[in-house]
Amino acid sequence: MALELIDVSKRYRDKVAVDRVCLNIDSGIWGLLGANGAGKTTLIRMAVGILKPSSGRIRYDGIDISTLGSAYRNLLGYLPQTFGFYPEFTVRAYLEYMSALKGLSRTAAKGKIEALLHELQLEEVQGRHIRKLSGGVKRRVGMAQALLNDPDILILDEPTSGLDPGERIRLRQILAEFARHRIVLISTHIVSDIESIANQNAIMKDGRIVALGTTSALIEKMDGKVWQATCPIDQMAKYKSRVRIVNLHAKDDSTTAVRYVCSEAAIPGSSRVQPTLEDLYFWLFREEDRAEENGI
C-alpha cells in the first residue's frame, strides 16, 4: 500500500504552485507542513485526483490514479480545507447524502453512520442543521463523512482549523487509532497538531519539498541550533533581526524569555535546548516570509 507522487508539478499562467514533488507515502500518518501559499492544498488536490498535474504521475499501488478512476476514489476519504454543505442539511441527512455518493448500500450506510456519530460524539447534534453548529463540531462532521467508506487513504486539509485544544487532542487520538494499517496524509500549518502523531513529515515551501523524514530525523537537524535566553525587553529589538524567534514570553521583572533558532548563540547567556519540529519550521520559514503571509 503506497501512494507515490513522481515529479509532480502544477503550473499556472502566473506561477508554479507545485514544483517537481516526489513523495512515497506508505501506511501511517504523514504530515505535510508549510505556510499558507506553500502549495499544500494544490498538492493535496492532485493526490485526491480532483486536480490534474501539469506534469508527473501519481500512482497508488503502482497504478496511475487516473487509470484507477472511481476505484481510487472508492478507497479515499477526503476532508477539504473549505468544508461546505447544502443549507437544509442536518448532520444525519448530510452523512446519508455522502454515504450514497460513496456508493454505500442503505444497510451499510445506516450502520456506519451510527458508529461514526458515536465515535465522534455527534449523537446529540445529529438532528440539528449543520449551519447552526460551531466550527469545531462542523469539522467533526467533516471527519465523519471522510471516514464513511472506511478508506485506505485518508487525506485531510487543515483538519484542525477552528478546533479548540480539547477537540484537537481528541482528533489526534482518532487519527492515531485509524492510521494503523492505512495511509493518512494531513496538511497543516500548525506544527504542534501533528508533531506528536505523524510518523513522517514533508515540509513544503514555494511549491517544493524542502525537508523530508521522520519527526525525530528532522528534529535532529536542529541539534545545536535552538537556544533559550533571557534578556531585557528594551534590548530585544537589536536581536530580532539577527535571529529567528520561535517564542517570546514577557516576565514580571521586565525581561523576556526568548526561544530562538540560530546556528550559534546570538544572545548573551543563551543555553541550548532540545529542539522540536516547530523549531525546524521556523528555521526553514524566515520571519519576514511569515510576516508577509500574516499581513504584518
Partner: protein, 258 residues
Amino acid sequence: MSLNRALREECRVPPNPERIEETMRIARMAMQRSGKRAPRSYSYFIIIQLKRAMPASWILQTLLVLASAVFGPLFIAVHYPAVANDPRFVAPLVGCLSIYIAMSGVYLMMRSFRCNMSEIEMSTMVSTRRQLLAKLAILGMRDIAIFGAVIVAVKQTSQMRVATIAGCIMMPFLLANCIGLTLGHNAPSGSHPMRIATLGIALGLALLLAYSFAPNILNLFSSRAGGAICAALLLLCVIRIGKLNAKLSSMNPVAEVD
C-alpha cells in the same frame, strides 16, 4: 528477412509453463482476498438523490407551480373566458412560467459551487457525471410533468394548437437555460440565488415586452423556423451542460498553462 518479420521473431519470448501455473495460483488467492471488500451500491444513491438532493422548499415550489399550472388555466377559463381564449394573454403567461421553471433548474445544477460542496462531491466514488445525470433526470421528470399539465390545461381551455403551446413553453425555457448556465459557469457569483432570480425576472420582462411590441412572435413559435431555433438552443444547452460537467469534475481553473 524483412524488418517486420525480424521484429516479430525477435519479440517472441517463450513463456515458462511453471511460472504461468504459479501466476494463476497466486492470482486466484488474490481474487478470493479482494472479494471480501463490501460491494458498492448505486440504488441507494438514486433514492438519496430523490430524498436529499432537492431542498424541501424547492419541492414545495414545484408542487405549487404544478397546482397552479393545472388549476390556473381552469380558473381563468371559468371566470375570464375571453382571456383564456386569447393567445395574446396565454402565451406570455406560459412563457413566464417556463422561464421560472428553467431558473429553478439552473439554481439546482449550480448549487454545488454555491454551497462549496463541489470539491467533496468530486472526490467520491460516484462520478460527477452520474451525479449530474441524476439531477438532470429528476429535473427532466419534473419539467415533463409540469409542462405536460400546462399543455393539457391550456388546450382544454383555449383554441391554441398543441404545437404553438409547446413552442411558447420551449423557446423561453431553452433560452433561459442557456443564458443561466452560461452566466453561472463563467461567473461564480452567477450561481447566487438572487442573481438567478434577477435574471429570471429580467428575461420574463423581456418576454412580455417582446409580446407587446411584436405580437407576431407567436407565429414564430408554431413555425418550422421556431422548431429549428429550439433545436439549436437545445444543442447549446447540451454543450453548456457538458461544460458544467467538466467544471464539476475538476478543480482546474480557467487560467492555466499545461
